[in-house]
Assembly symmetry: C2
Amino acid sequence: MAEVVRNKRVVLRNYVTGFPKESDMEIVEGTITLKVPEGSKEVLLKNLYLSCDPFMRNLMNKPQGTETSSGLNYTSGSAIGGFGVSKVIDSGSPDYKYGDLVWGLTKWEEYSLVPSSQIISKIQHTDGVPLSYYTGILGMPGVTAYAGLFEVGSLQKGERVFVSAASGAVDLLKNKFGFDEGFNYKEEPDLNAALKRYFPEGIDVYFENVGGKTLDAVLLNMRVQGRIPACGMISQYNLTQPEGVTNLANIVYKKIRMQGFHFFDYVNLYPKFLEFVLSHLKEGKIVYVEDIAEGLENGPAALVGLFSGRNFGKQVLLVAPE
Amino acid sequence: MAEVVRNKRVVLRNYVTGFPKESDMEIVEGTITLKVPEGSKEVLLKNLYLSCDPFMRNLMNKPQGTETSSGLNYTSGSAIGGFGVSKVIDSGSPDYKYGDLVWGLTKWEEYSLVPSSQIISKIQHTDGVPLSYYTGILGMPGVTAYAGLFEVGSLQKGERVFVSAASGAVDLLKNKFGFDEGFNYKEEPDLNAALKRYFPEGIDVYFENVGGKTLDAVLLNMRVQGRIPACGMISQYNLTQPEGVTNLANIVYKKIRMQGFHFFDYVNLYPKFLEFVLSHLKEGKIVYVEDIAEGLENGPAALVGLFSGRNFGKQVLLVAPE
């Protein structure tokens, strides 16, 4: 007979407007049967690491009914979801079996029953690579960075790249991550002047995470035929009235290509991506830093902290050790 | 000995801020020797038709010294320039000879001495095709539309297209040009609602000529993976403070590609384009309307009229009959 166990969840209490607060979520305890229902093709996961990602803010909005979105929006009163690393406990799918380590879309709870289509990949490379990396550099954010720079952004050797929301202390960016330069936008009263200082010859590729005033200043500093891969506009998510961007005519003048993209359209790159990044990690050419919070109880604070820049490095939530 | 003749010119009197006025230009009479100077490789043109195009407004701005632009900006006190159809009177270039009809960049004057590199093409097809068409449908605007829709916009059969600044009366657009629908933005208090009415399933390709509020409303009505080829933002050219565009996050949500482009990067398409458009014109599948003003004296009014929508059809200035 199948074991029934406690299942703690992070639940959305209210739809969010403006900045999310810890109190918009709550911890709820329920139970779960550790077995996939008879005839179901779903997979039962034990969640190990959960990823805190800015896109989750959008899913906290009250659905408008007019979205062309993924339909992933959270429902008030049920567990929030996102990317995570999990262990398969039971499987109705022939592709997965007990003990498999996987990453993909799961829920913010101890155990989740999910369609197998939500699993993005089995995790094969664990020698010397922390499992938590599959929430970040080896997971969705890593593929997004890779696809954005090389596929959408057509980055060429020698080009000048600006990444907004690099999310780290400036000395960390320069001394540890190997960026040529970095600055804290909060300390720059004139973003246009800051960009002119750091990019006297202009920017070829702007990896857009921010939108609003940052985008406006960047547009003034793009080079002809520059590219702007855009996978997020974090500065706008918490605003009821988004900031107006006034310098868009530069897209025409400078023949700029700005392109929105989603991780899911580039999942097919994963094997090629993984080979590329694992070798760079092993050679020390990519340095990676995590900020790990522990326990579902600390999930809401970790998630909310993204929007005030509280984390240094990738914000992860440890739910259970392997 | 070479003939010296009168040469009337349209000269920029002052750099322009805001809407251009007729009085920002003046007609000046000078003379010109109808012979290319000894040793020069330039070409002497008799200008027949000049094209009134919105981009010319940008060239009337006082140069800021920081432009990454073409360097074409007009100089206060000298003749303005643009696209035109001309006859070769004398040539220092082996590629052109007396009597050739050509189109390309020339000056707003009776005769112009220009580098041969400013000529874009000799005109071969004059049977049944008015020469003035090479300022419009068979010239720069035609290539721009073709490149924008098919190359930059990747237009596919069956997709939904919105063109702003189609510049004609609505009944002209529908009954003569064969558009499915058309509306006058000045009569629509809510552009978003107008677009929802005409595009209940959303827009695949938005041919961007306007920017500002129109772009903002379009972004709300684009379909997933829509494209926005952008070759102008006429609504912004006369503003000292451009309008803010607030709905750019849709570029991310809907994976939209917005791409600025210039005609000059697509000149190599010209032979293919010409074959395509000439056959469509002959079969009556493309209908074309011109609004022809006569005489250089009427040039300033014709050009200024573009910005208040005074013209119906392509605004051309007849300088001299062939």
